[in-house]
Amino acid sequence: MASLSEEVLLVVKKVRQRKQDGTLYLMAERIAWGPEGKDRFTVSHLYADIRCQKISPDGKAKIQLQLVLHTGESTTFHFSNESSALKDRDAAKELLQQLLPKFKKKANKELEEKNRMLQEDPVLFQLYKDLVVSQVISADEFWANRLGDINNTDPAPYNNKQEVGISGAFLADIRPQTDGCNGLRYNLTADIIESIFRTYPAVKQKYSENVPHNLTEKEFWTRFFQSHYFHRDRINTGTQDIFSECAKQDEKGLKSMVVQGVKNPLVDLLSLEDKTLDEGYGVSSGPPSTSNLNRSVKESSNAAIIKRFNHHSAMVLAAGSRKGLSHLSSVAIEYEDLQRKNRPKTVALNLKKSDRYAHGPVPLLSQHYTTSQDIINSVNHIRHEMVNYKPNLTQVLSSTAATSAIAALSPGGVLMVAGAQQAINQMVPTEVQGELKHLYAAAGELLRHFWSCFPVNTPFLEEKVMKMKSNLERFQMTKLSPFQEKIQRQYLSTNLTGHLEEMLQTAYSKFHIWQTRRMMRKT
């Protein structure tokens, strides 16, 4: 029965399940149904186990709700209250719709994680197939060491999505269309709205202030496009425009950006200034005409447009880099090696007999001793011989010498003995090698579980060690022996599985020793 601490969210009477009348209870973490008149629940499912819910179509006579579990089972509830069946069912459905997503994530996450791991690592997948699918080991044990703590791991590493940048032309892309009767239609998509908000935070602020209290969204955007803020000639005529504030803020922002300058030390913007030789080829000493009075009206409007363009570009770039890109400046102009850093003081190596390193792995005492007389004799002899040296290339080799040399070099000869043993990987075909690799991986996994149980301190470990021993025996019976028979039937009698058997035997003997010790301790 439900524990007292469980909170009951909804109770629906007259719900039939498997042709039995009863009551449906929706609790905080599970859904349960008990037959009428009885005290206990016959059906109880955790929300985490439910994959989805289905309802019968509206026109049907029977009003039903079906719960499909992750395991594939399904349970159907028939709402049989004559008056309020539809209402009941909808109420239950709504509640489930709210509750299921909360629990869904946790269960799915684990499953997703497992699937992902199996897909990414083919070795792991093969191991899973060998061990779990063939029932040598249970799935829980397999995943016990591998999953770690799912709930605590940071999902951030797997969500490496890049931020989408802002197109510089987003405002220009909103091409107005004539509406027929002297009006303009602007098409705004969610992307454009987002770009505007990211680039001009002042506009975002205005939006959050005014919508939905004062203006509807449509009105806000209409005003936006109507305002002089948006249009070319931004003459701040002090109109009652909610956007005039924005214009003033922009001016301030632009000025501060200019003052800040460019932080990149590799770019020297000031050297790009126009250095014109003024009229008179630099000879005349007239004052440069940069005062504002001389500027024509046209120039000032051009200046305004250019200022707006610069500002727009600056805001777009700033929006993109607001996500915290690191500055290049410190890394680009400094070479670590060339700087004198305060390194910790080290002690110099002081070698007394450094010529020891130069001596090769040859014993100090040479094997041959030659007297100086010998040396002189030999040198004279050779000099004498070579004084009249003339190559005699027709008498270099006698046929007997040649044939004995060839015999020595042919397979089976004196010099070729080591090569007679073929490498084992050339004799065994690749499928057999592959199977052997899988066997090794599976055996390794099982042995790892087995050996990690020692020393056996807790009853859990005792159980585990006995289970692992039976697993090992089962593995040997189902996998290893058939493989051995197969290779014996088909191929040379090379002992490919000797080492595997040795490892298993070591495990068995260790288990045996442990068991006898345990018996002795008990008696």
Partner: protein, 297 residues
Amino acid sequence: MASEDEINLLVIVVDVNPIWWGQQAQREPEFTLSKCLDAVMVMGNAHMAMTRTNKLAVIASHCQDSHFLYPSKSWRGGDSGAEDASSSGDGKYELLSIANNLIAEEIRNVMSKSEGNSTDTLLAGSLAKALCCILSIKTVYIGRDTKSRLLVIKAAEDCALQYMNFMNVIFAAQKQNILIDACVLDSDSGLLQQACDITGGLYLKIPQKLALAQYLLWVFLPDSEQRSQLVLPPPAHVDYRAACFCHRNLIEVGYVCSVCLSIFCNFSPICTTCETAFKIQLPQMVKPKKKKLKQST
């Protein structure tokens, strides 16, 4: 298959240690330095005859210096060469006859000098010269593929003092993808075994010196690409054990000073190379309890 334009350079380093060869001539008069050089010449001719783009260099490794037998500096004038060639009269490929004559002339010069007191062959130096020769060929033919290898014909024993230089040469050759092959006449050489193992060449100690030409042509004439298609003597097991610094014994398990990395076969509390003191924890000794002496009044 090697392309037509690929230059294949073979550098043969012949150990002409006069003491060893003089003793050898007294031990076994059928096989002397002359015979050895004849075999080398046959090998060189065969190599040059295989393709037009094959090139040859021969270095004699003596106790005092290393000398290029071919190509030699004296081969400048085409005239003198032509005369010699035509005088041989047997219709031999000119390049081969010139080469043979040059080698013979140079070796006569080399062996006629005998100064100095050293008895060890300067093998490391000759190998270094060979590597330089290979590099110079590479720079001369910079546009074309060049493949080079080194063949060492060794007679006398290893000299332990050349160990460092030898290892440097070996690693330089490995970096440049130059094979080092070794044909050993007398006693096994650990350094050359290592050289062949590291660079991927062949090491062979020949049982019969008289058949040297046959061994050279069978085993060392094919280049590395062709060797994969042939059945050749398998590589021998190389002894890479280190030698302890105190006795120069080859050891498998030893003690290494953590400061100067010198290797010893026995533990000693002070490293003799860098004079660092080491402590080993001895098992704790239980001090016997001292009985309190009663003060006598």
